[in-house]
């Protein structure tokens, strides 16, 4: 194209723009907004994905049934990342280049998000609520304004909880059981500074590998160091494994699990063995008899749509998706990435999952309040209100 053609084309484009409104962002047409989502549909985390997917789908379906956002329907494109970064790169390229999505919403996985977020924000695509370590994602995206994270950071929440609870419980010796890998790194990045501010050091540390099921040596090391608080940087099965070892020894010690261990599934699967386990909570866990009207509406709607009980992942996916939709609404009919960013930064979000009204500070959902919950009678009961 020579310069004259270029000038003519841009003049024509300007004229068209004047007639039909300003140029629109990728994925936004007169009738619809395309939103992408990649999940692990075939890999190791596939069993948990239906909840995440259905929670998101429900939020979007409800918005569409109510007439869409400023007259536009939301179309959700879902792809499989198999928990493999290579596959994630390919599907994100497909969503950006071929489906031309406006935003990526509720995408799952640390490695998969780390490999794709840079390319996505580089292409001008919004990334909202990636299910991955938030601080790392901002680092990968070089603090791009197009990335909005909502998942509480494991390091800062662990630190906050310990700085409050160690003096309150009168704990003198702290032991840590953590998973080797990024998750364990984050847990220790929370424990160590907390103990430093309190003038303490870690009395014992024991690392486990993903997939390990026997925790006798880890708990024995804690016992040998005579700790009076075990911080368990564990997920589902490992949390139960640690607790059943503690029970076996008949040891009366406080065990506090970080955010991922505080889930209904731990209480349900662990049964009597996890009774008395403490957990750091970053969002509300409602019991089956909760009377919260918003929660009830969500639960009934979910049951009607999918014929299943929603879990907390479905609730969080639903909550994050609603926040995204609120920001879209606030951005107005003339939509592009810049307007969305400005609007999203001005929104506050509160529903049946949040401890306090959340808003974006440096594009991360704040404040990160934590509660201390305890399993009593097979259910998580809040012991210390969010602080």
């Amino acid at each position: 194209m020579n310069r004259r053609q270029m000038l003519a084309t841009s003049a024509a484009a300007l004229a068209l723009g004047g007639a039909f409104g300003p140029a629109r962002a990728a994925g936004v047409s007169a009738e619809e907004i395309v939103v992408g989502m990649h999940l692990d549909l075939s890999g190791p985390a596939a069993a948990g994905m239906p909840m995440l997917r259905q929670g998101t789908e429900m939020a979007i379906a409800r918005a569409n049934e109510a007439g869409g956002i400023h007259g536009r329907r939301i179309r959700l494109v879902i792809e499989d990342n198999g928990s493999q970064p290579q596959l994630a790169v390919r599907v994100v390229q497909k969503m950006i280049r071929s489906d031309q999505v406006f935003a990526l919403l509720n995408c799952f996985g640390s490695g998969t998000n780390a490999a794709t977020i840079g390319a996505a924000v580089g292409a001008g695509t919004l990334v909202f609520a990636p299910w991955a370590a938030s601080a790392v994602m901002h680092q990968v995206a070089k603090n791009s304004p197009l990335l909005f994270t909502t998942v509480p950071n494991y390091d800062t929440t662990t630190r906050r909880a310990l700085e409050r609870m160690i003096p309150q419980w009168g704990v003198r010796r702290v032991g840590v059981i953590y998973m080797e890998g990024p998750f364990g790194d984050l847990i220790r990045a929370g424990v160590n500074p907390a103990l430093e501010t309190l003038g303490m050091t870690v009395a014992a540390e024991a690392a486990y590998r993903p997939g390990e099921i026997d925790f006798s040596s880890h708990v024995a090391r804690m016992r040998a160091a005579d700790v009076d608080l075990i911080v368990a940087g564990t997920i589902i099965r490992e949390t139960i494994g640690v607790m059943s070892e503690v029970r076996k020894l008949g040891w009366d010690v406080r065990v506090l699990t970080a955010l991922p261990g505080r889930g209904t599934i731990v209480a349900r699967l662990g049964g009597a063995e996890v009774e008395g386990l403490y957990g750091i909570g970053g969002w509300y866990l409602h019991g089956p008899d909760s009377t919260d009207p918003e929660l009830r509406a969500f639960r009934d709607g979910f049951r009607d749509r999918f014929g299943a009980e929603p879990d907390e992942n479905a609730a969080n996916a639903f909550s994050y998706a609603n926040w995204f939709l609120d920001a879209l609404r606030a951005a107005g009919r003339e939509l592009d990435a810049e307007r969305f960013v400005a609007a999203a930064r001005a929104t506050t979000h509160a529903d049946f999952t949040t401890y306090a009204p959340l808003s974006f500070v440096d594009n991360h959902a704040m404040p990160e309040l934590v509660s201390i919950d305890r399993i009593v009678g097979g259910r998580w009961i809040q012991e210390v209100a969010p602080f």
Binding site: A47, P85, L87, V89, R90, R97, S110, A114, E180
Partner: protein
């Protein structure tokens, strides 16, 4: 049927002997060169990835297909190539030097694995390589100063003599050039004395030894060569990913590579390429399949695993020679129609069984 009448040794040396071959491969090359003008940016990205996997599959083919050594740990050489390349780039080494450097690093690692590997074979060799892959994955997670640990390492965008290669087209041509170089190099190497030594070791170590082939040296060299080529693929893979974390080089990648060479057809470079194309396009095929299937079926998790498992089983049952074997049969059927005999391809000797005569 066609009989060649050769008038000089030159003719016998030619890679493409017949005008029809030259026309077919010429058209393929032209189509690949012209692809950026027709294919969308997304399609180019996919093509680049397929090419990267072709290189890695050819690397594994040298080892498994040509010397009969199984490796379940080739993802580790991809990882070494990728991390080596990314580290060298971040230290200011230019792309054109850093890529061979990464390949050399992977080749050294391959030689190191090859040394213990000459003492074991078959299933035990598979276990040694698997263990090596696990060690490398852990190392990539722990060695923070070089690999960035589990938090990952950003890969600088590729640049060639000041020209950015980061775009879809530039990167595609880079992948295409490397693939072509590796393919031509390997085709020539595999029909040279070295290649014949590889095959001799594969078919019978005892016979190879009797013919004066230094079996151990050949086996180690095959490991080094294979790892080097796979490392080259790793260097390009680093740019495909843009951000390296250890979970990109897990067992899944190793198994995918094994699937590629087995389904493609052991002992042929064409097979490696066909296998890589098939396996890398499988997720796209499953996604397309999901669009047609009823919602209840399409939402089942594990459909991908089922489809790739099914394909493997079908190949093992009905076409043990892989895609390459099927291709050769089809070609002969067309060439000799209606005189095609099925027995032409009856297996007379199996590579796997040769271990008995060692």
């Amino acid at each position: 049927m066609r009989f060649d009448y050769l008038t000089s040794y030159r003719q016998d040396f030619a890679l493409l002997r017949h005008p029809a071959d030259r026309a077919a491969y010429g058209m393929l090359a032209a189509a690949l060169l012209a692809a950026p003008m027709v294919v969308s940016a997304y399609g180019l990205g996919e093509l680049s990835y397929v090419l990267i996997l072709c290189i890695a599959a050819m690397g594994l083919m040298v080892l498994t297909g040509f010397t009969g050594q199984v490796s379940l740990g080739h993802a580790s050489f991809v990882a070494i190539g990728a991390y080596g390349h990314a580290y060298a780039l971040s230290q200011g080494v230019p792309f054109i030097l850093s890529l061979p450097l990464a390949a050399g690093l992977a080749a050294l690692a391959g030689l190191a694995v090859g040394v213990p590997a000459i003492r074991v074979s078959g299933l035990y060799l598979a276990m040694v390589t698997l263990a090596f892959a696990i060690v490398v994955e852990q190392l990539a997670g722990m060695w923070r100063a070089v690999t960035g640990g589990y938090m990952g390492l950003a890969v600088p965008p590729p640049e060639l003599f000041g020209l950015p290669l980061g775009g879809a087209t530039g990167f595609y041509y880079a992948c295409l050039a490397v693939t072509a170089m590796v393919l031509i190099g390997l085709v020539n190497l595999m029909r040279s004395g070295i290649g014949r030594a590889f095959r001799g070791v594969r078919d019978s170590e005892a016979a190879a030894h009797a013919l004066g082939i230094r079996v151990r040296a050949v086996r180690i060299a095959a490991f080094g060569l294979s790892a080097g080529i796979t490392g080259l693929a790793g260097g390009l893979m680093a740019h495909h990913l843009g951000y390296l974390t250890p979970d990109a080089f897990s067992l899944v990648l190793s198994l995918d590579l094994v699937l590629m060479v087995v389904i493609g057809g052991l002992g042929s470079l064409r097979g490696a390429i066909l296998g890589a194309v098939l396996i890398s396009m499988l997720p796209n095929a499953v996604a397309a399949l999901k669009a047609i299937l009823p919602d209840s079926l399409a939402r089942q998790s594990g459909l991908e695993l089922f489809v790739s498992g099914l394909i493997l089983v079908l190949f093992v049952l009905f076409e043990p020679q892989g895609l390459n074997g099927r291709w050769l049969k089809l070609r002969l059927l067309v060439e000799t129609f209606p005189l095609y005999r099925r027995d032409t391809f009856r297996r007379q000797k199996s590579y796997m069984r040769s271990e008995r005569n060692r």
